[in-house]
Subunit: 201 residues, 2 copies
């Protein structure tokens, strides 16, 4: 029905946008109408930005980050401490840590977590590349910044075992009450960790 | 922070996508990562579709619909009943009615509703164009398919007054219980309308 009404070009744009995470068919339609209303300010720049992204974006062969330079901006940055390597599951996690601006380290993107149920084994993740990066001898600490999920923690344990022979310090993120979090909504594991590692006020 | 990390091209794409309704900065980032992972299947076609949309889409000068042909597909369709004109607030509403596939009429998009508080008066809507369309004499009924909001109903009353001198039949959508709706969640006005217009089972 909609195709006949709005022209195939519009319907195609709706269908493509609806495939983005967070947008469904209805919100994709709303987005298309918004784009058309803001043709010069939004639609044209967005089409250009996508074209540029498509042409220039590469996956960094060193760390797995996504960037327009190869190696990526972080791997090329001489001010980054080369002795700390932060292992993350995905590029989104890397970006989240960078947004927080707390680290001056380099990263290693695993590209997922071990998940026997989903058939994801060590060979499906960037673990050989991680081991390879240790051979230079520069890395002194590996921070396992994986998610606090069952699969994330399984992966952390597996990595700790794999990394043990290299004699690097392997650390992981602390558990505790999130800032602004309400105790009432937290699970017992988090509360237990927060209590156990309580600090003097 | 993020700009330095991900390259200005990626950050620009995130910022543009975040301006779409329904996407915020966080979901825009997720969308960009998704686009980059699906570069060939999604990013490239989407860039093309946006380019095509930007070049070809026009607002129909007759009804206000958005299409790639001028006048729009609906206005040009000879099978549409020219005696019924359905007045809607926005193109989204037009599309919603077309998706339902219940009508074989033509449309008129007002481009909003009267809203004194927001400074929207009759001259800001496509009301003169609507009056103009009546001069041909073909239109026998005008269906006011505006939203059941205060502003929508104010606009409907105003239009009914404006259209009265032309002697066309002016109708509006019925109020009642939505299909699948639970009485418990409906307001009294809806329940009153549903009761008043109850039909024999």
């Amino acid at each position: 029905m909609a195709e006949r009404v709005a022209g195939p070009e519009i319907e195609r744009l709706v269908q493509l946008l609806a495939r983005l995470p967070g947008l469904g068919p209805r919100s994709a339609r709303r987005a298309v109408l918004h784009l058309i209303r803001k043709r010069e300010e939004l639609l044209a720049p967005l089409a250009d930005a996508m074209r540029v992204a498509q042409e220039r974006i590469v996956v960094c062969p060193v760390c797995g980050n996504i960037d327009t330079s190869d190696p990526c901006t972080i791997c090329r940055d001489p001010r980054r401490d080369p002795s700390i390597l932060v292992v993350v599951e995905t590029v989104s996690d890397l970006w989240a840590l960078e947004r927080a601006g707390l680290l001056n380290a380099r990263y290693h993107v695993l590209g997922g977590v071990l998940s026997p149920l989903d058939g994801v084994g060590p060979e499906d993740l960037a673990i050989p590349a991680l081991v390879e990066r240790l051979r230079g001898g520069e890395v002194r600490e590996i921070v396992l910044a994986v998610n606090a999920t069952v699969d994330g923690q399984t992966t952390a344990h597996y990595l700790a075992d794999v990394l043990f022979p290299f004699g690097v310090k392997v650390t992981r993120l602390a558990h505790g009450v999130p800032v602004g979090g309400e105790l009432d909504y937290l699970d017992e594991g988090t509360l237990a960790a927060a209590l156990e590692r309580r600090t003097v006020f």
